[in-house]
């Protein structure tokens, strides 16, 4: 019995890896991934450029890293990125009819969802490497650090990872709702923007009680990135993003599972 279970587990892991590598290849072995990467790099480069103008020849309270990741151009990249990465993940499979094959194959829904999710997360992580290179070039040329401290540097990228984890989960969920990539992209965009604006809900109405204001700040991506990029690490966003991403993935799995019952 135990041996059978172990065999099943091993097979599932093997299947997961096959699906994961397939998804990763679809990002790196097609022009699509590189186009997205180039677009993100251009917009990040513009953000970097404006941030550089804010520190060169001036005395500023904020580091280059902080100004790069708290600028308008950066947020523009952010909102566009997640729908682009995730809109085709499940929607395309449904449109092309391969989803039914996948669902009827002896492959668990979890393997399917996790492989797509982790592949998009891996590609998302790679997207930020060029921005690290930008800061590296800056440090080599200017001879000083781009961030408030080494801790602030890595905690900023940790926050980017966490926010990415949640927003990719939201995008994947949106993709599972429809067979149209465009609609999936729009829904994903709305979910990402909606979540971002949730963090500003305490500013929508004057006179909101302090408790509610504190709770609204708990969701605020803007505040999280601001404090992490200044060097203040907090466990609250860590728990929030990981738990919410997990919950959304669970919803995605259940939604796909429900298709099997129909």
């Amino acid at each position: 019995m135990m041996k059978t279970r172990r065999m099943i587990m091993n097979r599932q892991i093997e299947t997961f890896w096959i699906l994961f590598l397939k998804e990763v290849r679809s990002y790196f072995l097609s022009p699509f991934g590189y186009v997205i990467m180039a677009l993100v790099m251009i917009l990040n480069g513009v953000s970097f450029r404006f941030a550089l103008e804010g520190v060169v020849g001036k005395v500023s309270q904020y580091s280059l890293l902080y100004q790069t990741f708290n600028s308008f151009w950066f947020w523009m990249v952010f909102f566009l990125l997640f729908p682009l990465l995730t809109m085709r993940l499940i929607a395309e499979e449904r449109r092309s009819g391969t989803m039914e094959t996948l669902l009827t194959a002896p492959v668990s829904i979890w393997s399917v969802v996790l492989s797509k999710y982790l592949a998009s997360l891996a590609f998302y992580c790679v997207l930020w490497i060029p921005s690290m290179l930008n800061f590296g070039f800056f440090e080599a040329m200017a001879g000083q650090s781009a961030s408030a401290s080494v801790g602030a540097f890595w905690s900023t990228y940790l926050m980017l990872f966490l926010v990415g984890a949640l927003n990719l989960a939201l995008g994947l969920f949106a993709s599972s709702l429809t067979s149209s990539m465009v609609i999936a992209g729009v829904i994903g965009f709305c979910l990402v923007i909606g979540h971002f604006l949730l963090g500003f809900s305490h500013q929508l109405e004057a006179g909101m009680p302090e408790e509610l204001v504190e709770r609204a700040r708990y969701f605020s991506t803007f505040e999280h990135l601001k404090s992490f990029s200044q060097g203040l690490f907090d466990t609250r966003p860590l728990v929030y993003y990981l738990s919410t991403a997990s919950l959304v993935l669970v919803f995605t799995c259940y939604h796909l599972e429900s298709r099997r019952w129909r």
């Binding site: 022009p31 590189y34 005395v59 309270q61 801790g151 500013q203 609250r236």
Partner: protein, 493 residues
Amino acid sequence: MAVAEEGTEEPAVKKWRWRKSSRSWEVVVQLGSLFVVYLLINGFAFRYFQQADLSRSGRFTLDERTERFLAELDTDFDIVSAYPTGSDVSGDIRSMLDQAEKASEGRVRVEHVDPARQPDRMESLLAQWRVRLRTNSLILRHEDQTMVIADEELVYRDGAGLVKKFAGEIALVAGMIGLIEQEPKRLYFLTGYQRTEDVKPVYEEYRALGQRQNFLVQPLDLGAGTEIPEDADGLLLVSPQVDIPQDHLEQIKGYWGKRGGALFLTLDPEAPIPTLRLFLNRLGIAPRSDRVLTNVRKFGRPARISFSVPVQILGGTPISRDVEGLSMTLPGRSQSLALFPDADAVREDNIHLQPLLIADSRYWGETDYQKPEVKRDRGVDQHAPVYLGALVERGVVDDPNLRVKTQRLVVVSNPELLARPDERQKVESDFVLSSLNWLLDRPALIGIPPKEPTRYAVVMSPLQVDRLEKLATWVLPGLVGGVAFWMWRRRRA
């Protein structure tokens, strides 16, 4: 599945429908339970969290003295932060108060109120506590007492309005101590030995310092037959121009000789004060009849004499914890102090004597200071180290567990300390405050340094900036775009 006539279903269909329905309920229950677990996890994380300060300057960490003070609090405080969310120090204030709440284990309750977005709440609090605000502030409430700490006490700004130093911690602790003490400490500023027009501005400076840290500075003229009040926590004798009458000095000595006597003294080298000098001699301090000066050279030759002395605050004393190593310039004319900590009389009297201020090594104590040209004479003039400040503590016991009130004295041999508000440096005020807090036996307020925000000033040539911008915006993305194009061509082929 065959469906029978309308109104009846085969048992297999019924079973299928029942299974589907119960499955749906199963899923609802599962998802609901998961959601509840999710809420519990986040609720727990919201209340019980850890923060780590990864900044280089320790910007988000409370000083250990502040933490200790808050941990030992045995009374409750309500603190309201009346700062707008977008303010340049709102992050620092929020972080400081969050840490204070944690360190006090619930004794300190914090509420953040944005006056622009929560005007009703702000008005209700101000009306309830009967305070008025003219600027962004912290409002402290303890029992029935309220204290307002205004923005200028929390933040030191430069001319451009940028934050130079964030002194929130010291202001917060001082405010809390002030509310706990209820009766502020009283320092009596001895008058009658200086010209009124000279001493009034200095008196106002000390009074302003007192307002910042909850001690009262009041004038006291012993010449009118007045005695030193019983509630005197310390005496300030600032730059007496005439010698202290013997009977006054006996009063001062008698006060200082009592347990906990505290005296802050500044000397004017031009003033004849033989009686006072004698008093200091008995404590191991001998003001010399010199002037601390240096030759300012021009083209290698002495051009003029400079009497304004840059001094450094020496470490290793109870006063210098947060000001150790800092420098300030004492304007006007100063005399050097000879210190005899190992003299027999000093030791027998259980007097502990330490130098506090040391002059820059280019300066010496010149005895022939009246001459137009001066030079260092070995054996006659005072060479380095030249001390301009010292502290005395009498009655110290070796047993650290035994807390005994000692007699304390701080002397600075310069009459211009705090006397020139326009030229005053922040270090001067910090040094005087640290000295007074030590004299008043308020160790919690000594050594909490203000936090200096890190400043970024990047120097790069326009060529470097241009190259970096091109690299980030065009070259690297262009390379990746090229790979995309190649990949697309390969697929088409």
